[in-house]
Symmetry: C2
Subunit: 239 residues, 2 copies
């Protein structure tokens, strides 16, 4: 394997065990490389796509951090997810050939563009890829259901604890510390995702700090007591 070759392809991407190519054979990877022909760089604040735009591609986050959000006619909006490296954005667009949410880069980022018709074409050829696409969509559905659980039945401190644990776990899976993290989103965006106001997010952070569970300096968070957070999530205050 020639390391000096910086050709940016799935076959040489260090995310391939996290991303779409997961589990593909070398031969299949080669074919996938042809699908993932283009890249796109975004600066912080840029939209990868906006609601209403025609859907044509899925995007794999190569670097950076994204949020997806839906906005109603009357100005209400809801962050539906935060995406980090290796995660797939754009699945919402398939059903109506139109994106139903905005995808915004929360820091400078790069994505791999995967034209969906080509993904479908290749899925017909490779069982592995086909099944993996299905798994990715199913994972998103399961994830959404757990967010519904969070929004539907947890109190503010439980929500924030679950959020921090989830973030730390995903970062850990990417080789980062499981106890130290830098939030890429504002308190308001966290609140929108968790169904609470930014003031409540801030107050809950402060309470966790008072209780010695975490340390916070701006966007930097140090989880001092993971078990305490887990305990909060499973507190079953209700019935």
């Amino acid at each position: 394997m020639d390391i000096s070759t910086v050709k940016v392809a799935c076959s040489s991407c260090n995310l391939r065990e996290l991303c779409l190519p997961m589990g593909l054979s070398p031969n299949e990877l080669d074919k996938l490389d042809r699908v993932v022909a283009t890249r796109r760089r975004l600066k912080r604040g840029d939209a990868l796509f906006n609601a209403g735009e025609k859907f044509s591609s899925l995007y794999a986050v190569r670097s950076g951090f994204f949020k997806t959000a839906i906005t109603t006619a009357d100005g209400r909006d809801q962050v539906t997810g935060f995406q980090m490296t290796g995660e797939i954005i754009g699945l919402d667009g398939i059903v109506n050939d139109v994106h139903s949410c905005d995808a915004i880069a929360l820091e400078d980022a790069e994505v791999c563009v995967m034209p969906f018709d080509q993904v479908e074409e290749l899925s017909r050829e490779f069982t592995t890829l086909q099944h993996h696409v299905h798994k990715i969509m199913s994972r998103e559905i399961v994830r959404d259901h757990s967010v519904m659980l969070l929004l539907g039945s947890m109190r503010a401190d439980e929500r924030l604890a679950a959020f921090l644990l989830n973030l730390a776990q995903r970062l850990h899976a990417r080789g980062f510390s499981h106890s130290e993290l830098v939030l890429r989103m504002t308190r308001e965006e966290i609140g929108s995702y968790l169904g609470m106001k930014l003031e409540t997010v801030s107050r809950t952070f402060s309470r966790f700090v008072d209780e010695g569970i975490i340390e916070v300096r701006q966007r930097y968070v140090h989880i001092k007591d993971t078990d305490a957070l887990k305990l909060i999530v499973n507190s079953t205050s209700c019935g």
Copy 2:
């Protein structure tokens, strides 16, 4: 077309424009008939599957009404959806080959069993079916996002109004009245879905009745003023 033949197949099913076979050619329909070989009848309260069971098939609701719900270790639970005729249940199981929720029949029901490996096999053959499977999964994702919006940013009356409108619209698409409906679920199940307690559901119903927007007799609901419900959903009390 021989009407007297009651062979129960997609090709002769009156739901085919609503269900998985949507848009398939007669030839493709024939092949799909071989996939959808078995049916399953359930009585009210029966589980189509439970969380933890091995995933093998998707299910299309042929008659009856279902709920899906997830339960946490500490007893919290969340209804993640209500499914009626033509809708697909079981997508949650694909990612880990294990179902992550329970699917319960809320009235006597019948489902078409579609072994997923066969669905995948046929999708590799027919672009139409492949794309339709993707659309069904994408639709579920988009639906979940709108529930997240509801749970994250609406008040009790807005949630219930949105719920009633959604139910009426889906029933209307199936040939039922757009203003009269019979709820198949309890107040508690509605509450679990909408992230509120059953008492709040009941109280909100009562308020709508007082305001002349709906009539309620037990599970029977008559929507007298659809526009009023729409107005409530878009009230933008916040911000």
